[in-house]
């Protein structure tokens, strides 16, 4: 039985990892049909840069703005929920995490039907940003709230207040340091999710506000396999650092 589960694990691992390696390799081979023997090249990477650099730039910018928004909205909201007691805060928690159950496509449709006719908003990049914030905010909120609840803030804050600390001192000196792991994990998750968001963005974006994943879909549909692979490789280079950092944070919390 141990052999059987080792075998299944190996197969599943191969299924998940081999395509990633293949796409990385295909992005730097001169001709995928000939394989690696046809030679390696950086030509496709430069071609992707020429064609899609603007989508990469926009995605990085939107991910940064999205992180700023979720920090500004999510951390105070988590603090308020962590301190409050009773039925209403628990209900608010439920409602705030509801967007997780709603498909991204539905969120995008709602946003377009509601805000589409409002001035130039529809064609501005901030329209995509709103979709990303709606999608990622619950993740920031959950991670931060979990860290704050684990730290027994009420007692710590009472002690600080008894010593004469102002609200500002308590928030900056007690609340934020105690929740830093949760905030960090939430931030990395928000970055990774925003960089890869497609379900909502496909509808929200316009040809002038194309993000990286929408550009990826475009390259898969209309360019040769090597260009799609090279673009995927660039995407992985952006995505892997936050994911590795997230893993490291999770490991440290577990220990």
């Amino acid at each position: 039985m141990r052999l059987l589960s080792a075998g299944i694990t190996t197969l599943v691992a191969a299924f998940l990892i081999v395509p990633v390696l293949l796409s990385a390799l295909a992005g730097v081979t001169a001709n995928w049909f000939l394989g690696v023997s046809g030679g390696l090249t950086t030509r496709w990477l430069w071609r992707v840069w020429d064609l899609y650099a603007h989508t990469i730039g926009l995605s990085v910018w939107i991910a940064a703005c999205c992180l700023a928004c979720t920090l500004l909205l999510g951390v105070p909201a988590a603090y308020a929920l962590a301190r409050a007691e009773g039925r209403w805060p628990r209900l608010a928690e439920e409602v705030l995490t509801l967007p997780l159950a709603v498909p991204g496509l539905a969120t995008a449709l709602g946003l377009i039907l509601l805000w589409g006719p409002v001035g130039g908003f529809r064609t501005h990049w901030s329209f995509v940003l709103v979709g990303h914030v709606l999608f990622t905010l619950p993740f920031m909120l959950r991670a931060t709230l979990a860290a704050m609840k684990g730290a027994d803030l009420v007692t710590l804050e009472e002690a600080a207040r008894a010593c004469g600390a102002s609200f500002r001192q308590r928030f900056l000196g007690i609340v934020l340091p105690n929740a830093r792991r949760g905030i960090l994990a939430g931030s990395l998750m928000v970055l990774a999710l925003s960089l890869g968001e497609f379900n909502t963005t496909l509808l929200l974006s316009t040809p002038f506000t194309m993000t990286l994943p929408v550009g990826l879909a475009d390259s898969y549909a209309s360019m040769r396999l090597e260009i799609g692979s090279a673009f995927t490789l660039l995407f992985l280079v952006l995505l892997v650092p936050p994911m590795v950092a997230l893993q490291a944070v999770a490991d440290r919390v577990a220990r």
């Binding site: 709603v102 991204g104 496509l105």
Partner: protein, 241 residues
Amino acid sequence: MAAGWEGQGAAGYVAALTEPRYLAALRDTVLLSAGVAFVSVALAAVVGSFLARRRFPGRRVLVALLTLPLAFPGVVVGFMVILLAGRQGVIGGLTEALVGERVVFAYSLAGLCLGYLYFSLPRCIATVMAAAEGLDPALEEAARTLGAGPWRVARDVILPGLAPALVASGAIVFATCMGALGTAFTLAADIRVLPMVIYTEFTVATNFSVAAALSVLLGLVTWAALALARMFGGGSVAAQA
């Protein structure tokens, strides 16, 4: 625009609930998502408990690599399936060398299933691993001392212990599959999954009221699945969502 579609709201719901092709898309999407959820939970139960209980060199790296696809957008997953089972894919190359015939199934139902499995497995494995690490090893030892074989231990001790995590991750995978657009978009398969139907209704047919009604329907199905799993699996569903 607002005045234009408000009047058709009810008509959109009527169309969404009565027209055979919408109902067929809903049925296909539910069956596909349920099937994928079942298979990925079954595989993750084996892989997750194996990774949680065994220690071997390179285990941490392996776990990190297995969780990386969590952040892949659906389009990238679709592309991975093309690399595996597309016209220039590995499976095609292997089968050509072995049997003399190129097997290409990326653009069929099998390809779509493979893609959904690809983004579902990491989620399930992560959840099951966390649950398996929390199991009390003493229970397993007790069962062994009482003479239970490895299969008995798996069936009567480990599986019941993992059950809440399995239910929770199954429900979440089901909900994710129901709403997944990118994979079907890249593979452009001839399977009409509901998110693709909504997308074409909205962009090609500009049929806003039907698109909106269908996405409400989609939201209700996913919400019901998560709520059901919560009833049976306890609070862990919300924590994992």
